[in-house]
Symmetry: C2
Subunit: 299 residues, 2 copies
């Protein structure tokens, strides 16, 4: 078992100008493991309530995801409701009911305790040490974060950033954490805090990957019909880490390709509501999109 993803599993209620979906399956861990499942067999660690549909767990299994780390607890599954305006970059959170996710204390099954890559997808930085204490130090540890932790637990967040190899964050979050407006300088400041790789996700503007003496950038896939942007960043991380795990080593050639695969997975996620696109998406479509990134960018 080589890529372990610890993250949220949720119901999302999503409204966009194109429609509304009630309590469809969401959560950072879900998106991320579905995306990673195209390249490797990721293990997901998460918690759901008894209301979580069995068929969704079956679907995850059918998509190459090891669900032995999912606990089912008495109570209701985490439920998030959000609304997007005509501009898909503008999102309003209508409600957040943490439910069983409130006191999420991940316990990793024995089979999950020697991962090559561990991904802490957007969870409370104060929970990181508990997770790390359960496992043999992985070859690579990665984390993502959100504005909520930057604002409420800045010290814990910086402490945990100091322990990971790869930090995923939006460009705005990179600037916030580093307290620096220029993204390049901000990323360099964060490299000084510990990680050897900073992945600055810029949504419709693509992504920049920073190492100390290396920088790679790729524009986003041009999408004419953004149906629902939810989960794009998590799908990016899943595609990125899944490909990296399958490649078996991190060098600059791999990093370039893995950023493109991450971008490809994110570009599919936004083509339908929630994680629905993953129910039909094939590996061939991913390869075709990889090639379309090459046509988009090569000169």
């Amino acid at each position: 078992m080589s890529l372990i993803i610890v993250g949220s599993m949720a119901f999302d209620t999503i409204e966009t100008p194109l429609g509304r979906r009630e309590k469809i399956v969401g959560g950072s861990g879900t998106y991320c493991s579905l995306a990673a499942g195209y390249f490797t067999r990721p293990g997901i660690v998460g918690v759901v309530g008894r209301d979580f549909p069995k068929k969704t767990l079956t679907f995850l299994e059918s998509r190459n995801v090891d669900i032995r780390g999912v606990s089912v607890k008495a109570g209701k599954t985490f439920h998030w409701e959000g609304r997007y305006g005509r501009d898909p970059n503008q999102r309003t959170t209508v409600r957040t009911e943490l439910n069983v996710f409130q006191n999420f204390r991940p316990v990793l099954p024995p089979e999950f305790r020697t991962p090559d890559i561990l991904f802490l997808a957007n969870i409370d930085p104060d929970v990181h040490p508990e997770i790390l204490s359960q496992i043999k130090k992985p070859r690579l540890t990665a984390m993502d974060t959100i504005r909520f932790w930057i604002e409420t637990k800045p010290e814990a967040l910086l402490r945990e950033i100091g322990r990971v190899d790869i930090l995923f964050a939006n460009d705005e979050e990179v600037r916030m954490i580093a307290d620096e407006i220029n993204l390049i300088r901000a990323a360099k400041k964060l490299l000084d805090r510990g990680p050897s790789i900073i992945v600055a996700k810029k949504g419709e503007h693509g992504v920049l990957i920073f190492e100390r003496d290396f920088l790679f950038g790729v524009p986003a896939h041009p999408c004419e019909n953004v149906v629902d942007p939810t989960g794009a960043g998590d799908s990016f991380a899943g595609g990125f880490l899944g490909y990296l795990e399958a490649a078996g080593r991190v060098n600059r050639g791999t990093l370039r390709r893995t950023a493109v695969y991450g971008s490809a997975l994110a570009s599919f996620a936004i083509e339908d509501f929630g994680a629905e696109r993953f129910s039909t998406l094939s590996r061939d479509e991913i390869e075709a999109r990889y090639l379309s990134f090459r046509r988009l960018t090569s000169f």
Copy 2:
């Protein structure tokens, strides 16, 4: 004479957190022709007042710019004053004194009347017909625009967009003109209005080039020290059109390279106040930056 640039020549007073410069040389035509001069011998058409320093015209000449289209009129040169905050994307106009530029009625010298490429850099769309009537139809006509014309002369602007081959605009301006939030759909709508190429400049996020069945994207050069963003877009257009003119033909390979050269010139322009960087910039530095774009983006 093959690339003719009609645009403003101005004094700019610029304040940024890094300092203040009083009445340095600026204007869309000036930036654009300086940038184009690295690839071809552009002709500039513009107007200045008697206060415009002779040594600036000499400098333009020394940078391969044909200044026979510059008229010196009684009165003062166009003067713009602007201020940038800590975030270089945020700019406040402090004053705009049009002076001799107010009634700019460009008269092209006979040597300028058979251009291969004509660039209308950001001037009143109602002045375009006067210019076009003076010349033999060029192989390529290009224009740039600004929010001011979109807001004050939307009909004239759309009419003139219908007459050009290449439209340069910021991504926000492309969206505004097309009245469409999604940039890809917005650019396609504008392609339906006449131009065969839309160049959507995205500042720090790079640029996207649209043809009906072709799309090329390149991230911006990662700049850690943006000294003064003034003129980046005009320098982009100058590098783009200068390289295109020198290449002698427009095909997709050329378009890709020309977008990268445009990006390179823009990236140099912001490294110093006003157009000061062009006083030392060499062609070798441009070639080195072209290669650094390749390292940044290839996979």
